[in-house]
């Protein structure tokens, strides 16, 4: 039965090739557009997650502040081996942990200077780092030696240094003294987007040396989960669990750690407090770009859908007027109203499905082409898109959801005209001329 109905609908669509091609084309265009915008948003999000989790955050972080006086905080986790043991016990979802030192220094070379956010890293213990960071020159293994540093290519260019060159790090401390350390560049890595413009890596011991810290101190524990989507849930649970173990844990605050200094400094406590954050918290200073893009996509989608719905209704109005006599005849030979309604809605649905499918395919094709061509993002826009090459990330499920949504809305738009068709009395309908 359904097959027959579908056949009838298809035949009706085919009879008015031109108009249906236009309409289907418009639907396809809108679908392709939404798919591409969705791909852009997802692409940015993934690029962000990818570079951020290599460089500055885990899926969940256990960081914290140590306050010598209540007015002076350092981004430190003291007695981190104990914290780590507790974390391992509480997080079965854990894939692996990276222990990172946190620091901030001005790099001064002969021909240039710049500010660097320093991460203290134990390269031997982080196999993933090796996979993601691609070296342009030098070797990662050399980063095990004290007094070494890994720079990204932009930084090396700006400082005018290459592998083997030395320069000075000067880290301001709260006391107004600048601790300095001379470091030798042992590796230059390819840039991985915006965040690599100001992050550099030194051996974990180097951070301790710069700030004169004891060996059981570190900056933060970066936890990598098997499923990153669980980050928020794991973070909330871990916060409670650690507090339960007797650690002092700070309240959730969705901000990167370096934006918390001011607040922490003016709070009335001393000693250690742990701070559990997710990667989204640490990147909150960038995620507004994603929200803006999503808002824009939503607005555009709404406006376009209004236009498409008007188009669909218009086309059906005219189709019904054209086929009034046909409808009358069908009704006269005993077809139920419901069936007439069904036939018109089915026609619209078929058009919508074909249109959205074509659009999704088109969007997919364009995305694949864009990804293949490696469109360089202009430097001006790199900050906002967080990519060096435009990458659109499409996922079957999201595309299906977007396309399905559009198909549904367009089909629903057909209901009103279809109901009018179904209401026609056989007699008036058969009398209708033209």
């Amino acid at each position: 039965m359904l097959a027959t109905d579908l056949l009838i609908s298809a035949r009706n669509l085919a009879r008015h090739t031109r108009r249906n091609l236009f309409l289907g084309g418009a639907i396809a265009l809108v679908t392709a557009l939404l798919v591409l915008l969705g791909g852009l948003t997802a692409g940015i999000r993934e690029a962000m997650l990818d570079s951020a989790t290599t460089i500055m955050t885990g899926h969940v972080n256990v960081g914290g502040f140590y306050k010598i006086t209540s007015g002076m905080a350092g981004a430190l986790v003291t007695r981190y081996p104990e914290v780590l043991a507790d974390v391992r016990r509480h997080v079965p979802e854990l894939s692996f942990v990276a222990v990172r030192g946190r620091g901030y220094a001005k790099a001064v070379a002969d021909t240039g200077s710049m500010n660097l956010v320093l991460a203290g890293i134990d390269v031997a213990a982080e196999p993933r780092f090796r996979e993601v960071v691609q070296l342009q020159a030098g070797s990662l293994d050399a980063l095990r030696e004290p007094g070494t540093i890994l720079l990204f290519e932009d930084q090396a260019k700006r400082l005018g240094v290459g592998v083997g060159d030395a320069f000075t790090l000067s880290a301001p401390t709260a006391r107004g003294v600048n601790n300095t350390a001379d470091v030798r560049v042992v590796a230059v890595a390819k840039s991985v987007g915006l965040l690599s413009s100001f992050h550099a890596f030194v051996p974990a011991g180097e951070i301790r040396r710069l700030y004169q810290l004891r060996a059981d101190n570190t900056g933060a524990l970066h936890l990598f989960l098997r499923n990153p989507a669980q980050a928020a849930r794991v973070a909330a649970r871990l916060r409670d669990d650690l507090a339960h173990d007797g650690w002092k844990v700070m309240d959730a605050d969705p901000q990167p750690y370096w934006q918390k200094f001011q607040r922490v400094n003016s709070e009335d406590w001393t000693g250690q407090r742990l701070d559990v954050t997710t990667w989204e918290d640490e990147l909150s200073f960038l995620t507004w770009i994603l929200s803006a893009l999503q808002g824009l996509t939503g607005l555009l989608a709404t406006v376009l859908m209004v236009i498409v719905v008007v188009g669909i209704m218009n086309t059906l109005w005219i189709a019904i007027r054209e086929r009034t006599r046909e409808i009358g005849t069908l009704r006269a030979i005993g077809m139920q109203r419901r069936k007439v309604l069904w036939l018109f809605v089915l026609e619209a649905a078929l058009l919508a499905v074909l249109g959205t499918a074509a659009g999704a395919l088109l969007g997919w094709g364009v995305a694949a082409a864009v990804n293949r061509v490696h469109v360089a993002v202009p430097t001006a826009v790199q900050f906002f898109l967080m990519q060096r090459h435009l990458t659109l990330s499409l996922h079957g499920l999201t595309v299906l959801r977007d396309a399905g949504g559009i198909a549904l809305v367009t089909t629903l738009a057909a209901f009103y005209p279809a109901r009018r068709a179904a209401r026609l009395e056989p007699v008036t309908a058969m009398h209708h001329i033209g």
């Binding site: 031109r18 140590y66 000075t168 300095t180 004169q212 004891r214 607040r263 008007v310």
Partner: protein, 705 residues
């Protein structure tokens, strides 16, 4: 000619008859065009207003019409900084030459020297403030202005300083938990000794006998140990203040005044002071007040506001530390009365004060500012105090300059912008000192010293002592840490900044990084940019001229991006609308096959049919396009009448260049939107018109429906 006119009249007649005859089609096509026209008019008016507002505020506050810098610089100029830190600009060694060259360009009204940079300021520490109060009492006593009231104050201030020293002693024990014990142990032992002395009763008995030496001990040995407050980054523009004021009308002195000509000093950015320097509890209250009264948010159910309430309450320590015993008692008395409780413990009273909810907020806010604030120092310095600004000089080493704060400054339209509103303004001579401008002779000297010291770099202390004549060590002879910020409330002696001899009589002579050029006629920007670069070449200078948008770096790029996004969105909307309108018209045409065929049969030419269909679609376009534009203009007017679109967040405040966006309707945007609508209606009419011309009389007669 007359025939053509007659034909046109007929075409129009037919067009309007048809439009009224097939009302559904007309309404659908017209509706889409109307919708599109409204969208374009409102959208472009909003973007134009944002653009014009931001241009006015950025041009009028820092950029000027054209920015000029050295073409050989490694980085492009970025007035508001970039992700990589300050741009690396090649300085103009002698700005007077640059100015002379630019001044030859006709239409240039003003050339303002600038140097942008970031430095560190210390918001100071409370210990210094407390010692300064004590010092004032000691002076008053020495001057013989004794009396029971002074005695009581003197005792209270003593108790305050002593309590803080005790806290400090306990605090420093904490440091052993993180610091590597093997290093600095000698220094730490000395610190512990000093603290033990400062907290002993013997020391305080001696204060009466040798007040000055005791105070010196507190200031030089104990105050540096008070690790209050981190150093925070301040962004500044160093400029000739008189010229700057004339050139930039957006600058407003909120408090205090511009340093008089020839004086050195600093005007601190208002937002910067609020955001980074103000007492945190007070700042949070301000933010809550703004969110509740301006944005109509509620504490209940708003996660962010609830966090602010909690933070305001958690930051009472700063507040308690400021008060000496006398003030604390007074504060407790006032709070107890205002809150109507019998409680007399200040800590508990404060906790009660900061237990905020939607009902009590406005009353508590008033209590804080009316009762408590007069006893407190809300900012770490007052206008008139001196602050120490530390900058990394070009060589990478730290330079510090003590500057008198002459006032607070803000730029209209950028008051809330985290990028642009935090800018502070200082005089050119201080900038040059911070920048560490060294002539060729000094550079040679450094090279010699470096060679002598071997591979090791000079330490900071040595570098400063050698290069700047030991100026730093003269000023605070015993400070353990040479970079330790000076007590903020010291008298203006230091406030004038060191090295006044560095300032040449003509502010234009000397180094500057870039220049803002003000033109008589802003429309001449592109021509002026070309002429400035040419004038530079003639004078043997390498000048690069950029527009405000380029100079604004990331901020300017964002405006460009926003504009681009709007245009792309409008383009897409009209592309889809085109398809839909086209479709509606094609179907309408096909319905009229009989009519068209008949007309052809009675002698109408193809061209006439083509024109007929096209005139119809254009007529719809014009009629509904006009109506849509009028409606759009109405919407814009309504938005204005309703007081504009309020800026919901600080980021929007920046884009709106003020608390709300008052869209303006430009003739340009109206014309453009009408143009777009006309284009769309013509283009979407082309294909149906083509179809219509293909209809043959025969087809028309055969057609059944």
């Amino acid at each position: 000619m007359r025939g053509g006119l007659a034909a046109l009249r007929m075409l129009l007649q037919i067009a309007f008859r048809d439009l009224f005859a097939s009302r559904v089609k007309t309404l659908i096509v017209g509706g889409i065009i109307l919708f599109g026209a409204v969208l374009v008019v409102v959208g472009s008016s909003l973007v134009d207003t944002v653009d014009a507002g931001m241009r006015a505020s950025i041009q009028g506050s820092l950029a000027g019409h054209v920015q000029v810098y050295d073409a050989r610089s490694r980085d492009p100029l970025a007035l508001y900084g970039s992700m990589m830190g300050d741009p690396d600009l090649t300085p103009f060694p002698d700005f007077a030459r640059v100015k002379a060259a630019i001044a030859t360009v006709p239409g240039v009204r003003q050339v303002v020297p600038m140097g942008l940079g970031t430095a560190l300021v210390s918001p100071g520490n409370l210990f210094d403030v407390a010692v300064a109060r004590l010092r004032a009492d000691v002076r008053a006593r020495a001057a013989g202005r004794g009396g029971p009231e002074l005695e009581a104050r003197y005792q209270a201030h003593q108790a305050h300083v002593r309590r803080m020293a005790t806290l400090l002693r306990d605090d420093l024990l904490q440091a052993t938990a993180i610091l590597d014990a093997s290093r600095e142990s000698a220094e730490r032992a000395r610190n512990a000794e000093d603290l033990a002395r400062a907290t002993s009763s013997g020391f305080w008995e001696e204060l009466d006998r040798h007040p000055l030496s005791s105070l010196e001990f507190l200031e030089n040995r104990i105050a540096p140990l008070a690790l209050e407050g981190t150093l925070i980054v301040i962004r500044y523009v160093g400029t000739d203040l008189e010229q700057f004021r004339k050139a930039f009308d957006r600058m407003e002195i909120v408090e205090g005044r511009l340093p008089p000509p020839g004086e050195r000093g600093l005007l601190v950015g208002k937002l910067y002071a609020e955001e980074y320097l103000k007492l945190r509890a007070a700042r949070r209250l301000d933010q809550l007040q703004e969110a509740i009264t301006l944005h109509h948010r509620k504490i209940a159910g708003d996660e962010e506001l609830a966090r602010w309430v909690k933070e305001a309450g958690g930051q009472t320590r700063e507040l308690l530390m400021q008060l000496d015993p006398l003030q604390a008692a007074e504060a407790a008395r006032r709070l107890g009365r205002a809150l109507g409780t019998g409680e007399d413990d200040l800590g508990k009273l404060l906790a009660q004060l900061f237990a905020l909810d939607d009902r009590n907020f406005s009353a508590r806010y008033r209590i804080f500012y009316d009762e408590l604030a007069p006893l407190l120092q809300l900012y770490p310095f007052k206008v008139g105090d001196a602050v120490t600004v530390q900058g990394a000089a070009r060589s990478g080493y730290m330079k510090s300059v003590n500057l008198k704060v002459w006032g607070l400054v803000q730029f209209k339209g950028l008051e809330k912008s985290g990028f642009a509103g935090v800018m502070s303004v200082m005089d050119l001579a201080s900038f040059r000192e911070l920048y560490g401008w060294l002539g060729p002779k000094e550079l040679a000297e450094i090279r010699g010293l470096k060679a002598a010291a071997g591979a090791k770099e000079l330490s900071r202390e040595e570098a400063e002592a050698t290069l700047f004549g030991g100026e730093t060590s003269k000023e605070h002879p015993e400070a353990g840490a040479p970079g330790h910020p000076l007590p903020l409330s010291r008298e203006a002696r230091e406030g004038q900044g060191g090295g006044a001899d560095l300032a040449p009589s003509d502010p234009d002579q000397g180094v500057a990084l870039n220049a803002a050029v003000i033109l008589d006629d802003p429309r001449r920007i592109p021509a002026a940019m070309r002429q400035i670069e040419a004038a530079g070449t003639r004078a043997g200078l390498h000048l690069k001229a950029v527009t405000w948008q380029e100079a604004a770096g990331m901020v300017g790029q964002f405006v460009t991006l926003a504009r681009l996004v709007l245009y792309v969105a409008v383009l897409i909307i009209f592309a889809v609308a085109l398809v839909i309108i086209n479709n509606a018209l094609v179907m309408a045409t096909l319905q009229r096959v009989t009519e068209i065929g008949t007309m052809r049969a009675i002698g109408a030419q193809r061209r006439f049919i083509w024109a007929m269909v096209l005139v119809e679609s254009v007529a719809v376009g014009v009629a509904f396009g006009l109506a849509g534009s009028a409606l759009g203009a109405g919407v814009v007017w309504l938005i204005r009448a309703a007081g504009g679109i309020p800026a919901g967040s600080d980021r929007m405040y920046f884009f709106f260049s003020g608390p709300s966006l008052l869209p303006r309707l430009g003739a340009g945007s109206l014309a453009i939107s009408l143009g777009i609508v006309l284009l769309v209606s013509v283009v979407s009419g082309l294909y149906p018109a083509l179809i219509a011309t293909r209809v043959t009389p025969l087809e028309a007669m055969r057609s059944e429906d």
